[in-house]
């Protein structure tokens, strides 16, 4: 591996990270470079290896191969230094269910070396900042998902670490809470922190991240800014259903001729989807279809979904039935 001097400009440098769970290569050679002071998004479906990657970078899992450095410090050899530089907010709230919000924050503060009075003050300040003051004394069992995430994030900020890992910070949150979480994340970066977040939502990565890595089956399949990624899938995507099933092949050829991109057929073989660089092309397409006498039952132009990003980049769709895979990496990691 080439030695690169690091003056703290790179928050994360990962080279060929590999993690095996039995025969399953959950992470299969991930390279990643995150500039200090930026938001970096790791985008991928369930089981792609996002959580496993984060857990290796956060010293929670030992990589089976490859190396990673956090601000120049090796995650395996200098793990205790790395832990002083990071804050981790897990996919499943990493706070103590049986204690109150205040107690949780006080214990974490004490563990981080703050004094008794300091810890109390820190806990109160953070609860205030995250709008949890009223619920401070209630047991966490009665907390909503959003409150739990906020507390979790607050706990990660006690030591004001320069790098914060957020594993799917908004999964399962309602839209209002989600945009609150986004504001919080943006605020973090304004104070100089680096944020590495994982998400299943293209929109979230697009909204927040300066750069995005698309990860699938343990590998980074694309990397770039949000715009660069979207260019590869078009700014919008076409969904089209034909009235008569026998027209489907002609319709597909027409779509590909007019849009000059490969299209895909949905599994029920009833729907054609294709990326569109320019939404105006829909007019040309509809005219062409009418000339050929094809009757449509449904047509729409939508923003590209993660599904389509995946389809375009990896050549296969998001496999929802991955939950049946016993080696699914996300939830079963120890």
């Amino acid at each position: 591996m080439e030695y690169r001097p690091n003056n703290g400009d790179w928050a994360v440098e990962a080279n060929g990270l590999v993690k095996l769970f039995g025969d399953n290569r959950a992470v299969d050679g991930v390279d990643m470079n995150v500039k200090a002071g930026s938001i970096y998004g790791v985008l991928g479906p369930n089981g792609a290896g996002k959580t496993t990657t984060i857990r290796m970078l956060a010293t929670l899992l030992r990589p089976d191969a490859g190396s990673a450095r956090i601000f120049g410090h090796d995650v395996v050899k200098e793990s205790q230094i790395v832990r002083q530089l990071i804050g981790v907010t897990g996919q499943y709230a990493s706070v103590d269910e049986s204690l109150s919000a205040t107690e949780n924050l006080i214990i974490f503060s004490r563990l981080l070396g703050l004094g008794r009075a300091e810890s109390k003050k820190k806990a109160a300040d953070l609860l205030e900042e995250f709008g949890l003051t009223e619920a401070a004394k209630r047991p966490l069992k009665n907390f909503s998902g959003g409150m739990r995430r906020r507390l979790d994030l607050a706990a990660s900020l006690i030591a004001q670490p320069p790098l914060i890992f957020l594993d799917e910070p908004t999964t399962g949150l309602d839209p209002r809470t989600r945009s609150q979480m986004w504001d919080t994340i943006r605020r973090l970066v304004n104070t100089g922190s680096t944020v590495l977040l994982t998400t299943q939502y293209l929109e979230e990565a697009d909204q927040l991240a300066d750069r995005i890595a698309v990860i699938d089956r343990g590998k980074v399949v694309a990397e770039g800014t949000g715009d660069e990624l979207k260019q590869s899938v078009g700014t919008s995507s076409l969904h089209l259903r034909v009235e008569n099933q026998s027209d489907i092949e002609i319709a597909r050829q027409t779509v590909e001729q007019v849009l000059k991109v490969p299209s895909t057929l949905s599994s029920e073989a009833a729907k054609i989807t294709a990326p569109m660089a320019n939404a105006d092309l829909i007019t040309d397409l509809l005219i062409a279809l009418r000339e050929k006498g094809i009757t449509l039952s449904e047509v729409s132009v939508q923003k590209p979904t993660l599904d389509e990003v995946f389809l375009t980049i990896t050549g296969h769709g998001v496999e929802e039935d991955k939950t049946k895979d016993p080696n699914r990496a996300e939830a079963v990691t120890v």
Partner: protein, 267 residues
């Protein structure tokens, strides 16, 4: 925006003082948890009361002729048996705790690796203290007046608490290596049952067959029971106390390192 992070002042190891501080904070967490979920204390409050009553009245007449003369025999026996068996919970709870999300946070914090483990074991001495106090209290209510006097009762209580803490390392080890909390419970019972019942805790050793006497006499629990009896009933400390302490220290010397190693490997 470019942000430089200076990291040259950071150390890659945890000092001894920090380890102790972290462990105490984790013990504080354990105590808070006990306070929040008092139902956790059912076993240490009910078991001493029920077992002491039950065993004294069932075996009293058969073994010592009457309940009163059985008390000096059974109270130390039941004390050791009850308090040691409450240490199983340490392993079970450790397993449950390690499966929770909060353990991820502990692992990602720059704290002594040993702290969550040491803290849990430390907090559980509260459980042993409750069980000890209740057993002696039950004995007192039933008419047990130890001849050794209060100081020696206190000493024997400390001995039992220390021994239970040592034994809890065994269960902590199971807790760390086992897959589920219920399997920890299962294995631990399997170890504990023969240890506590194949001892002199409930009946005199000379009533047992010769081959069993051999095991009972080398069983460390027998020595702890004898040591407690000597302390409480005659106020003397002998060879049994020595063996008990040596045994307890030996358990810690063996199980603490392997538990910590297994724990580190998992984390």
């Amino acid at each position: 925006m470019s942000t430089s992070v200076k990291t040259s002042h950071l150390k890659n190891h945890t000092s001894f003082i920090q380890s102790v501080k972290n462990s105490l904070t984790m013990a504080y967490r354990g105590i808070l948890k006990i306070r929040r979920t008092p139902e956790q204390l059912f076993d240490v409050t009910l078991q001493p009361i029920i077992f002491t009553l039950m065993f004294t009245y069932i075996f009293g007449g058969a073994i010592s002729g009457d309940v009163q003369s059985y008390l000096p025999v059974i109270i130390p026996g039941i004390l050791v048996q009850t308090v040691i068996s409450t240490s199983i919970v340490t392993g079970v709870q450790l397993r449950e705790d390690m499966d929770k999300g909060v353990f991820d946070r502990f692992k990602s914090l720059p704290i002594a690796r040993i702290a969550p483990l040491a803290g849990a074991l430390l907090a559980d001495t509260i459980r042993y203290t409750i069980a000890t106090v209740l057993t002696f209290a039950m004995g007192y209510i039933m008419g047990y007046r130890p001849d050794g006097g209060f100081e020696n009762v206190l000493l024997s209580a400390l001995l039992v608490i220390f021994v239970s803490w040592s034994v809890s390392w065994i269960f902590a080890f199971f807790g760390v290596i086992a897959r589920t909390a219920s399997s920890v419970q299962g294995i631990s019972m399997l170890v504990l049952f023969p240890l506590t019942f194949l001892s002199n805790a409930f009946v005199p050793v000379d009533t047992m067959p010769k081959w069993l006497q051999w095991f009972v006499n080398i069983n460390p629990v027998t020595h702890v029971v004898s040591a407690v009896r000597e302390l409480t009933n005659s106020g003397t400390a002998g060879w049994d106390l020595g063996i008990s302490l040596i045994g307890a220290v030996a358990i810690v010397a063996v199980f603490a390192p392997i538990t910590v190693r297994a724990y580190m490997r998992r984390t």
